[in-house]
Symmetry: C2
Subunit: 336 residues, 2 copies
Amino acid sequence: MKLCELGEFELIKRIKARVGHGSGILRGIGDDAAQLEIEPGFQLLTSTDLLIEKSHFDFAWTLPEDLGYKAVAVNLSDIAAMGGTPRYLYLGLACPGSAEVERIEAFMDGALELAENHGVILVGGDTCSSPGPWVISVTVEGVVPAGRAIGRDGAQPGDVILVSGTLGDSALGLSLLRQGGVVEEALAMRHHRPQARVELGQALAETGCVTAMIDISDGTVSDLGHILQASGAAGILDVPKLPLSDAFATALRNRPDLVELALAGGEDYELLFTTAEEDLAVILAVGKQLGIPLTPIGKIRSGEPVLYLRDASGHEKSCLAHGFDHFSPTSGSGAS
Amino acid sequence: MKLCELGEFELIKRIKARVGHGSGILRGIGDDAAQLEIEPGFQLLTSTDLLIEKSHFDFAWTLPEDLGYKAVAVNLSDIAAMGGTPRYLYLGLACPGSAEVERIEAFMDGALELAENHGVILVGGDTCSSPGPWVISVTVEGVVPAGRAIGRDGAQPGDVILVSGTLGDSALGLSLLRQGGVVEEALAMRHHRPQARVELGQALAETGCVTAMIDISDGTVSDLGHILQASGAAGILDVPKLPLSDAFATALRNRPDLVELALAGGEDYELLFTTAEEDLAVILAVGKQLGIPLTPIGKIRSGEPVLYLRDASGHEKSCLAHGFDHFSPTSGSGAS
């Protein structure tokens, strides 16, 4: 069935019928605004993203259910990067009237699957027509105990820089998908269904030992650059220490230039954060407990916010923290 | 200058430089999520909208500063319709790299002008490229004292239906703008710069006498239909009582069919609400105090959620509460 046959109000009714209930939701879908109760002692965290067909995603190599999953994941990841707990989801969806209702429902399947996994409930949004591309807006509201949120601005000279998981898989996956060949499942999934590190972000915030944190969306170098700029400090990154998956390491052996993807590919949605040297053991214990690799990859230095990359021979070069610029004609990644 | 020459990070820096500060904002633009303090005893209200070029707006007859103004207004209106106070604004903006930076800044001028008028502060958003149309997402968070929010679902048989201001001006203005002729300023402004009835919504909520409320975006008939459906009641609307501006009334004398625009044109952004007969005097006093006309236009009846339209001769006909359906090929309005 085409969307123009189903109609907007019927679409909203169908979405509403699938949505769960939760404590704190006084009004969800179906009024002018969602009305929510924030517990005393908690602060509100809000993140929002826009995703546009052909700019952020392409149905040629993306299933609608993966798109829904990822659209939610990138916002959960933002809440995770503040050390918060995501709670409420708002979805704006614009597509042409000729869009297949099945595709929209598959998109909703993916979005709601991930939301439910995290106890996040859809409480509002907007549906409208697009003259061309699909457009998706996602807003996630979360909470954090007062005083526990982690910003980008607290990194101190001497702090260790760590990253969760492995880097570059999503960008490598996308690059292979675009070439149209067979892509190893693990790499494709890192691109299509990134895991928001929500539990890790909360656990790290609970230690009180993390001085700055960000999630890697633009790319390691660029997002580390955001921490350096916000904190007013320099940083050194040991390139050989970047954690790589087996699949990525295998590809890298044939094409050493692929290291760029681990440095600047983006869409890893891993947590990149800093901690004082003396707190490193506490932090590493958190990773061990959750079964998530946490790898020290560099250090914060005093000085202007410049990032230095150090290679295996110990040679350092300064690196402009240029990440993915959505408006630059030379940016070729699909990062959001 | 073109946006692709300025770059995304420079654009964000420029926007950030223009934004004010306010109490309760622990982190605004420049981190993964906004971090906000909600006062004890208050609840959170959140509204979000998507606006797409050629579907919701057209630069052929819309100035970018008006577009920014209106994009914010429609969300403030949603918060107003709950009786709340808007506080925080999130803007997502996608445009092609070839977009003129001046146009983007004019858009921001309009958006921030209206936000500032209401003490609303921009605390986050997203910027990215679009392969074609401009896309704007707006999210507004507001607060309301616990227990004071007004939904759509409380209308009771016997209640009086009231509306603020005048109806149909925005739709008439748009229709004339599309024809390309000279359009009376008052009508054009109703379309380009709708006034969100924030102060009125708060004052009405404070009376404790409003049983249901909605803002008119889809159209009077459709939005009243939402109240009837949510409240499980019928309604009768006296068409001759619809409040009309002088400009609209003049146009109506030549073309009686234009009454459709007051009934179903949409984008009025007036408040449509219900109150018990015995509380009518309290409500009308609020309108008088604020200098905003409040007009009784009908009554709630018991029965299935059907809306009846009564003409000057007292003849009633039932009316399917079909409003603007974004995906219907027969919907011709520019309503959002």
